[in-house]
Symmetry: C2
Subunit: 431 residues, 2 copies
Amino acid sequence: MVPHLVTALSGPINELEQRILESMPAIERWFRLEWMEHTPPFYCSVDVRNAGFKLAPVDTNLFPGGWNNLTPEMLPLAVQAAMAAIEKICPEARNLLVIPENHTRNTFYLANVLQLKRIFHMAGLNVRIGSINSEITEPTTIQLPTGESIVLEPVVRSQYRLGLKDFDPCTILLNNDLSAGPPGILEDLHEQYLLPPLHAGWSVRRKSRHFQSYEEVAKRFGKMLGIDPWLINPMFNKCGEIDFGEGAGMECLTENVDALLSKIRRKYKDYGINEKPFVIVKADNGTYGMGIMTVRDAKDLEQLSRRTRNKMAVVKDGQAVTDVIIQEGVQTYERMHDAVAEPVVYMMDRYVVGGFYRVHPERGIDENLNAPGAGFVPLAFAESTRLPQPGEKPGASAPNRFYMYGVIGRLAMLAASYELEATDPEAETYD
Amino acid sequence: MVPHLVTALSGPINELEQRILESMPAIERWFRLEWMEHTPPFYCSVDVRNAGFKLAPVDTNLFPGGWNNLTPEMLPLAVQAAMAAIEKICPEARNLLVIPENHTRNTFYLANVLQLKRIFHMAGLNVRIGSINSEITEPTTIQLPTGESIVLEPVVRSQYRLGLKDFDPCTILLNNDLSAGPPGILEDLHEQYLLPPLHAGWSVRRKSRHFQSYEEVAKRFGKMLGIDPWLINPMFNKCGEIDFGEGAGMECLTENVDALLSKIRRKYKDYGINEKPFVIVKADNGTYGMGIMTVRDAKDLEQLSRRTRNKMAVVKDGQAVTDVIIQEGVQTYERMHDAVAEPVVYMMDRYVVGGFYRVHPERGIDENLNAPGAGFVPLAFAESTRLPQPGEKPGASAPNRFYMYGVIGRLAMLAASYELEATDPEAETYD
């Protein structure tokens, strides 16, 4: 089931698709060379939006949930990619400890954890789930609506290692984005592989830092392909020292929103795009679709409702918001049964292993879809027709569109790799 | 569509399946460690036979054809594995030259070449087909019954490199088994990667050398798993200096057939197997299903027909047979619509990417199926249910049976890796 791309102006994206398809060997080689210099994040999911005239990533998740949304057809690809990842990082590993988010009642999330367990078991590891939730004090079995069950066990910390009772893993896979900062129990584990590393957590990550890297990646990729990088790059500004509760720092926000809207307007004019520009203001350390608002006019910021201010002031795990990123809004013109849809691309190691559409029947094309009420529809990614079909008319072939999404997803993953190198506290510096 | 396993005695294979499934993480780790020490052949297919009481590889092809028999569902796995292989061997490669067999009229074979071209194109290489057939003197387009067409181009040799007009590949993929010996045009290419290497060709390879390595692999694997390696290892002897035309060397053959039949009889007795043992006599350098006969009693060798002698005397490309391997026969008890079937497992780099059943309606369970009249039915390998299903009753789950076949296929691939190391003319020797 492939969403229909409903847009008057699809010329630019069809040209991009054609260019990407024709350049497939060059693109794949470009990625190969990049991965010789840079290490991909262990796993990753990327939200992509397709405006018909522009295609861009809008969020890159280094602790992806939602693996349970991938179809069974995609699992063999995920297992094969997991094997490749393990082989490179820790071929001698026997045991893998997965550290999930602290939710114990979100069975949808727990189904995701069970799917990860299944993937890494098939890839050849003994997998157990270690909770850092203080409520989990003994092995706890939770029944899922699917009929399956999952066992969460309390982690046990020794001086240098983390494990479970009678289970000493050589690798620890984080599926917890550490919004509240890494708990002490995860620090100074120098004898074990911790994947992704602690500085990939949201207490260190900043969206603006990621999109700065993405801009660099998009420029280099655009140059290689001979395209305007704007076609795949959402422009952005940022502001610090904001207090939404007190209304402090709003001048910076107003000015930057206004400036970015003007820049977008000029781009739209150059391309003959007859759309109303908008920006998305997001908490720079936000996740879980929290701390996000759509702004269509800088004046709107003067009259933010109390509800919106509250929503913007605090994100996951009660973290206060002081820094925001103001990002060029990219409409999503894909629709599934009248509901607005955006593709989410899943990657493991350097491989695209699948994806799905996030669909929200109550949201507009210029709004965040990662919100309660969203549904998930597997992409046709890994189905029989998934491989690109050279020679198809641009815009007419779903596999070709998905290949293009996979390229954009990998560009964002590469940006995350640049970002993690730049923020690595243990990086060697050459003064 | 999964063939039915029709056999009275399936206990041992069900135990083996259960053991293999329970030990999945240990098995995958064992392979990971092996691949740290040994390089997998670039690609490989393995014929497997399932006798219910025994499961064994009977032939390992290092220049696999038949890629066109894999279903579209399996292609993404093949592409991902090809990406992994290229990344390791030649990440900077732009161009790949495929050297096929010299047949220009076998459109079924050419469809296989086209499939390989597609896989490596998707993996990110510019792929062209260079023929070493002296009849191809200019670019030649051949129409296939599928409606597709393939272009064969004459290779161009310079002092150090091989290529096509205006096409300089940094990697050359052989899909030609070099039965007649490597042509001079392929020798001394020290600036280009030649995959697989020349000594993987049938002018150098010997089946007995391969099964010697396989025996070593099976013993080590059996020890790890705690099983009798005979359950997965076909015993063998060999004879040299045979002339089937003149009848020379037949005493050696008779003695060895008799000795091996006795050994099999003892094993059958130990396991309570009520079957008639048989051996397969094969040209030690044979391929394409040529030079193979089934022997049920050493006395039968005294009265070989002229036709059988002729068939055994010469194999592919007119190579005379002087050396034979006498291999324990493994019945195949799988059947598809009453026709005898044997699984063929396909691998790229270290990954199982798919497979199919070779089915022959006119052959018996103790005969070679690789013969004119054989048909091909894709295995359910890469379909949604492909991943093993822990907890299923042994013998009841097709995915579990295929996982077991994939393990056996990889053991044979590992044996090929040992074999190629032992026969590498450029290997460093430490005296």
